[in-house]
């Protein structure tokens, strides 16, 4: 609604927008000075509201074994998922390591070609060589379990959302919440309802991983052209036939993309579920963290990066193949394929038999080991010892100049002044609807009794986003202009995004102490890659003819960038900003682990300690409110539709490998 049709009107609105913005700033500055430290909502750890949520917790605890819903429904779900996990784990162990490795290669060969087969085998051998064979398979089994369930539910729901506007508009906000809600916030309720162990871990992972399956499937179904559907209907197809013969086949490629996203999300979540007794690589990392051994954590983190890359490349290649084959008509190669499939199966069978004979208990031989423990620990120790002066100064500068002033303004202003400024700013930037959303979210924060902590977190998130955007713009522009730089940067970005943040938190603490700034650093590492990629993609997307024309007209490279490329990539830049904010917010809770306090710490405390259960839950919801608010404001700024049917709102973590592949 902020994008009127006529360019003239648009110009007027823009000028007046600027005027109102400046006016708002002046008025609020005066009010701030006059009314500072009044109408505050100080934090109270023992708020009655938190205690009432604790009551809910105690009720569940007391009635778990007597209430019928729990006995019949919850327990059945728990036991069936436990069964699924045991089955997957049993299969992987039973196949033995040679069997699993060759099977992985065979799957690579059948679905993605010869090169992928080699990559798969190498990747699985790496798990063994790192000494992490069993952990890796546990992680794989958890991930597969969550993915299978996510797809089994997500694809039908996505089809429904693709065919029904009403369903889509109902489910979109639910999916937003599922994606923004910090994982820690629902780990505690998960453990409460489904108890600890693999089932709760799989369900928590499912919650996190199912949104892209639903969203992207819906997107695919909606992307099928209306004329194709009409043609089928006019030929007398039933709704079911239209779905099966027209919509699904035409949306196949998009749906496979959704599968890919679901896998990546699941993998990033599975690590965290180590905290509720899920086995696997996450556990190795948590244990290494406890011993303050970065090298050991790095090995496990590396295994996760490898697994992410294997699964991502496999799904991506497979989707490209689906695409090629549907287009070219697979008939002529069927025979050749049969030979390949048969050969692959044969070799797998042999490998399993050999495995059974040679490695009866299925474990990888101890004699073969590669570890990065020593070099990583040496490097970390050097960095910690020698860079401290520099990093400490940086921390103090950013905290003193940006973070503390901003936090002081947000926490010492009257609450209604902060709210008013936010709502008016949202209206000026994005229009009426985002302004209403902003008001509702801020009132929600007050209702949850977490205004003070919410403002502290908001200050960190805003500073984190600013740094993310600065880094993202700089590196994105460099990547767009220098191919070689982009090529070097890409694997680093892949790793930055898939390496679990737990691995690099310890060196970060050594360098920046246990502070809010450490949390910001972790957030920037996590959030910058997609921003860099979106900026690069946007600038590369400027048509070559336009660039040529500008160059021919005598633009210097600098002018070209500022006057042509950046303005024309405006949409990508706004999307990048939006993603940056949401991803920074996703790291708030991790920040609680390294001394950032506020909402992140509340969530962690709630997860770990029963008397804080209520506060933790409320803090989790508060993070969602902040997330929805910032998301809507920045989305509106791009003049993009905010209603149902808008594209995937949140680029999920792990997506960027994908973006890197398709963007190339």
């Amino acid at each position: 609604m902020a994008a009127p049709a006529l360019p003239l009107a648009s110009l007027e609105w823009r000028t007046s927008r600027r005027f109102w913005g400046v006016a708002l700033l002046i008025v609020s500055a005066i009010l701030f000075v006059a009314l500072r430290n009044q109408w505050l909502l100080p934090h109270d750890d023992d708020a009655e509201f938190f205690k009432s949520l604790n009551g809910l917790r105690d009720w569940v605890d007391a009635n778990r074994s007597s209430n019928l819903v729990f006995v019949l429904v919850v327990n059945t779900i728990r036991l069936s998922i436990a069964g699924l996990f045991d089955l997957l784990q049993g299969i992987l162990i039973g196949l033995t390591w040679p069997g699993v490795t060759v099977l992985a290669g065979a799957i690579g060969l059948i679905f993605a070609g010869r090169r992928m087969a080699v990559v798969m085998v190498a990747g699985f051998l790496a798990f063994g060589l790192l000494g992490l064979w069993e952990s890796s398979l546990d992680t794989l089994a958890l991930t597969l379990g969550a993915v299978v369930l996510s797809l089994a539910m997500g694809i039908p729901l996505g089809i429904l959302a693709g065919r029904s506007d009403r369903f889509q508009s109902v489910i979109t906000p639910v999916l937003d919440v599922m994606q923004i809600m910090p994982t820690f916030a629902y780990l505690a309720p998960m453990a409460l309802i489904f108890l600890i162990g693999p089932p709760a871990a799989i369900i928590a992972t499912l919650i996190y991983a199912i949104p892209p399956a639903i969203r992207i499937t819906a997107l695919g179904i909606r992307g099928v052209s209306g004329t194709s559907v009409e043609a089928a209907v006019s030929l007398g197809s039933t709704r079911w036939q239209v779905l099966r013969k027209v919509q699904l086949p035409m949306a196949k490629r998009t749906i496979v993309l959704g599968v890919n996203q679901t896998i990546m999300m699941a993998l990033s979540m599975v690590v965290i579920t180590a905290l509720i007794a899920a086995p696997g690589l996450g556990l190795d990392i948590v244990q290494a963290l406890e011993r303050v051994n970065v090298g050991v954590a790095f090995d496990a983190g590396l295994a996760i990066v490898i697994m992410a890359i294997l699964l991502d490349r496999l799904a991506t290649r497979a989707s490209q193949r689906v695409d090629v084959r549907t287009r070219s008509g697979a008939a002529e190669s069927t025979r050749q394929r049969r030979v390949v499939v048969l050969g692959a199966v044969g070799v797998t069978v042999v490998a399993v038999i050999v495995g059974q004979l040679v490695a009866g208990d299925g474990t990888f031989p101890d004699a073969l080991r590669i570890t990065f423990r020593e070099p990583v620990n040496t490097a970390t120790a050097w960095v910690e010892a020698n860079l401290f002066g520099l990093t400490n100064a940086l921390k103090n500068a950013v905290t003193g100049v940006l973070l503390n002033p901003l936090q002081t303004i947000l926490t010492t202003s009257p609450w209604w002044l902060v709210g008013l400024v936010a709502v008016v700013a949202a209206f000026i930037v994005s229009g009426l609807r985002p302004a209403i959303v902003t008001a509702v979210c801020l009132l929600g924060l007050i209702g949850l009794q977490l205004w003070q902590h919410g403002m502290e977190t908001l200050a960190s998130v805003l500073v984190g986003t600013a740094i993310t955007l600065l880094v993202g713009l700089t590196l994105g522009v460099l990547s767009a202009r220098h191919d070689r730089f982009a090529a070097v940067l890409r694997p680093i970005l892949d790793a930055a995004q898939t390496m679990p943040s737990f691995v690099y938190l310890l060196p970060a603490i050594a360098l920046f102490s246990a502070t809010r700034f450490t949390a910001i650093v972790a957030a920037v590492i996590y959030a910058a890659p997609p921003v860099i990629r979106l900026v690069e993609d946007g600038i590369r997307g400027v048509p070559a003819t336009v660039v040529e024309a500008a160059t021919a007209a005598g633009s210097t490279p600098r002018q070209l960038l500022w006057k042509v490329q950046l303005p024309m990539a405006r949409r990508s830049l706004l999307l990048a900003a939006n993603q940056g904010i949401v991803l920074v917010l996703a790291m708030v809770v991790v920040g609680g682990l390294v001394g950032a306090g506020a909402l992140g710490y509340d969530v962690i405390a709630g997860f770990a300690q029963r008397e804080d259960f209520g506060k933790g839950l409320a803090a989790g919801v508060s993070i969602v409110l902040l997330g929805v608010m910032l998301d809507r404001i920045t989305q509106g700024a791009g003049g993009r539709p905010t209603g149902p049917g808008r594209p995937v709102a949140v680029v999920p973590p792990g997506t960027t490998i994908q973006a890197g592949v398709t963007g190339a």
Partner: protein
């Protein structure tokens, strides 16, 4: 196309068959595995490592270790996920819920370790400011501890939210010019203390003993007003030192009733802080796995553990 589907079916069936064959090939022992919760600190792991090693080598049990936070471990007694917590620090609220009310857990004796929680500073600070170890002088030095997080007060570094911590009350009730900042985890606290020792930066914080870090750097405790029961009557009014904890072992009711010799061993297990610190040191600073560390200790201390074997 139809042909290729058939092929896929055939492939699927073969793989499924193979899997079944593979599964049935595996087998297990006859004794129920013992499920030991691993709470997230190394001293705990040292206890667990030695007990697990003896269960496996001396009594022939299999042991499942599950890394869990303290409260979640207690929940595990109810679900059957956990049989043993091998080092418990107090937690009267949990004892009330799970031992007295739900009756799913039981105490299985003390570990022999004494848990000390205190406020620590790195040794270099004591050399430089000898009277800093008395709490009465802390305000004099508050400025030293200022950080970007604590504003115009000194920073006191508290730790993981799960731990027993009364620092905010103590700071307020003793009138200290300090602000409590939570590091968020044990690892964060350890890293901060290591860095304070290495870089000679000022730091005061919550820490405890037994802990392997004491083998690596020297930390000096601050003398707070001595502990008394009256002082701890109201959590909001605490203005004295932490009590000493006689650490004990908690087991599930089921394990106590049916655990047989495994339960006996767990109940008999008792050793000193020095024993524990030694095994912790093997694991953290000498790069041994829990198993290797346990084996080394067991090989060298037969007289200690012989008495535990039922």
């Amino acid at each position: 196309m139809r042909g290729s589907k058939l092929w896929r079916l055939a492939v699927g069936a073969t793989v499924a068959g193979l899997v079944l064959a593979a599964c049935s090939a595996g087998g297990g022992g006859s004794k129920e595995p013992v499920k030991i919760a691993i709470n997230p600190w190394v001293g705990y792991e040292a206890n667990a490592a030695v007990v697990a090693y003896l269960l496996e080598t001396e009594l022939g049990y299999t042991v499942e270790k599950k890394t869990l936070k303290e409260e979640i471990s207690w929940q595990g007694f109810e679900t059957g996920e956990v049989d043993v917590i091998i080092e418990n620090w107090g937690h009267p609220d949990l004892e009330k819920t799970y031992i007295d009310e739900k009756k799913v857990a039981a105490v299985a004796g003390e570990t022999g370790n004494v848990g000390i929680i205190a406020w620590y500073v790195p040794e270099w600070m004591v050399q430089e400011y000898p009277d800093i170890t008395d709490w009465n002088n802390l305000n004099k030095y508050a400025d030293l501890f200022k950080t970007s997080e604590s504003g115009d007060k000194g920073q006191f570094l508290a730790s993981d939210p799960t731990f027993v911590q009364n620092d905010e009350a103590i700071v307020a009730n003793l009138g200290l010019d300090f602000k409590v900042i939570f590091s968020g985890s044990e690892a964060s606290s350890v890293k901060a203390l290591q860095q304070a020792a290495a870089q000679k930066t000022a730091l005061i914080g919550y820490f405890w003993d037994p802990h392997w870090l004491h083998a690596q750097i020297k930390l000096v405790p601050i003398k707070l007003p001595p502990y008394s029961d009256e002082c701890y009557a109201d959590p909001k009014k605490i203005d004295c030192d932490y009590p000493q904890y006689a650490l004990n072992k908690i087991v599930s009711k089921k394990f106590a009733d049916t655990g047989g010799k495994a339960y006996e061993l767990v109940k008999n297990f008792t050793w000193t802080n020095d024993d524990q610190n030694l095994v912790s040191d093997y694991m953290t600073n000498q790069d041994m796995t829990a198993e290797e560390a346990a084996k080394k200790w067991v090989d060298e201390h037969e007289s200690t553990w012989k008495a535990w074997i039922p």
